[in-house]
């Protein structure tokens, strides 16, 4: 399920990031979670105990369900972290 960019709204300049080795398009200023959702990637982490898929949930950095490894730093909350051009994101841990 891909999140839809609302066409009426002016979006930012395109930037690309690398997610699990694949290049995806995002827009400057948006959060990594927004870029992932727009690319159709809803599973962002997995529970450390059950390995069950988890994703964007609270949107405000308090639930830690959308954490990923960003440029080598683990446990980054993608919902409150802005994309930077070329940033490398590893999801699913």
């Amino acid at each position: 399920m891909k999140a839809q960019r609302i066409s009426k709204i002016e979006h930012g300049t395109p930037v690309s990031l690398i997610v699990n080795g694949q290049e995806i398009q995002a827009q400057a200023g948006e959060s990594i979670a927004a870029a992932l959702l727009a690319a159709g990637q809803r599973q962002i982490s997995q529970n450390s105990k059950s390995r069950a898929p988890r994703g964007y949930f609270c949107g405000m950095g308090m639930c830690f369900e959308c954490v990923a490894t960003v440029d080598g730093v683990p446990n980054v909350r993608t919902c409150i972290t802005e994309v930077t051009p070329g940033c490398v994101v590893e999801t699913g841990s």
Binding site: M1, A3, Q4, R5, I6, K8, I9, E10, H11, G12, Q27, G29, E30, S31, A34, L37, A38, R42, Q43, I44, N47, K49, S50, A52, P53, R54, G55, Y56, F57, C58, G59, M60, G61, M62, C63, F64, E65, V67, N75, C79, I80, T81, E82
Partner: protein, 487 residues
Amino acid sequence: MIPRKPDTTEIAIVGAGPAGVAAAVTAARAGASVTVLDEYARPGGQYYKQPVHTDGGPSYPHSLASTIQQGRELLEGLSHPGIDLQCNTLAWNISADELVLDLYSPAGARALQAQRIILCAGATERAVPFPGWTLPGVIMAGAGQLMLKAHGLLPGKTFLLAGTGPLLQLAAVQLLEAGAQIAALVELRSRTEFLKSAAHLWRYPDKLGQGFATLQKLLQARVPIKFGHTIAQALGETEVSGAVIMRVDGDGQPIPGSETRFEVDTICLNYGFTPATELPRIAGCEQYFDQDYATYATATNDSLETSIAGILAAGETRGMGGAEVAVIEGQLAGSVAAQQLGFSPPFDQNGLSDKRLQARAVAASLGKMFQLKPGLCALAADDVPVCRCEEVSAGEVRAAIRNGVVQLNQLKPWTRAGMGRCQGRICGDILRQIVAAETGLPLSEIQPFTARAPVKPVPLEVVGGPVAETDTLTWEDHVGGYGVART
């Protein structure tokens, strides 16, 4: 850790949402030097979150554009030269004796000492657990709004919204205006309860009018509104592909046989909010049980001073009230703090106090209308995880309660509930509901988890300094573990 003198400021404000910004602008205009700390990249909090791409002009859906515009006007005040706004900065600890905040930002760790601290930490959305609630595609309703507001992104195609209270309807209208399909809006209150409670608002025609205008938009768009129902299950393997709702009885207990299924890709939840009170609790500020919202919150006097000298609180941290209350309380707290430091604030404090009491009265009415119902705990079947981080099931929690656990702090060592990364922010209030339902104790007698620093996870070296190989680890009784002896 290298001991370093903390930075200093006259007034430190934690949180750049409606309350914090109003407090900062008021205090700075009075002449005080103000430092505003916010965990996020941009100010505004959740309610006044600003679009990251555009100026939020007329291209934004109507219902969002007005909130964005109001927020922008408030945030313009932050350009005052007396205000030092520090974003991406987490205040992770507070020392009540010295009025020092420990801060962490990507630039590193530091401390800030203030003559007054105003805590405006906002609130947390609340969900109730049900089978499938951890699936990607189940999100908080506010999280859906944030994707719309900040990113112009619709986080799905076909939505089901479930919970109780006015936010659900507003979120539904915003999603509709952005082009979403809404399969159903599922409201816990029965139609009769809903209309009865609306009657309680007769003294506040503005609020009533706004509520009905929102409802009318949903009816015009033929959004099915399922009063007296609750979400009962999210369907799907790796993400949401459907939802099951059930009718509830007066206590909120789902009625077997009343299941209805919807094909949806996104489920938005909002069962109210709980005040964010970690820092005030660490500081030792007295908490009280807010009967209207059935949550604990930070107690203050009429000047918004907490029980700890030099620490004030404004907005949701003091008890749920909404953005309007938050702005008024921010102005009052900023004004009081500035006056205590010898400045002449621009506001008439008596006038603000009157406005505050009126706005609080409306919020109290709303709170009473939309409390959780105890029967909803039945949705958390024994195999449903209640604590999402540690995957502690409702069954494990109930077994602990059968063994005599009656407080959340006892549940922690017994089950690990609340010991994960979110530190109980998502499950804390739910666990209080379950303990109350199982033991029959009133909610007011079930205390929240003890708040501990760091309030959110920070790198270890931020808290304790780098651990050199030569450091000797010593047993530290107060933490029940080994630590580096500090000198």
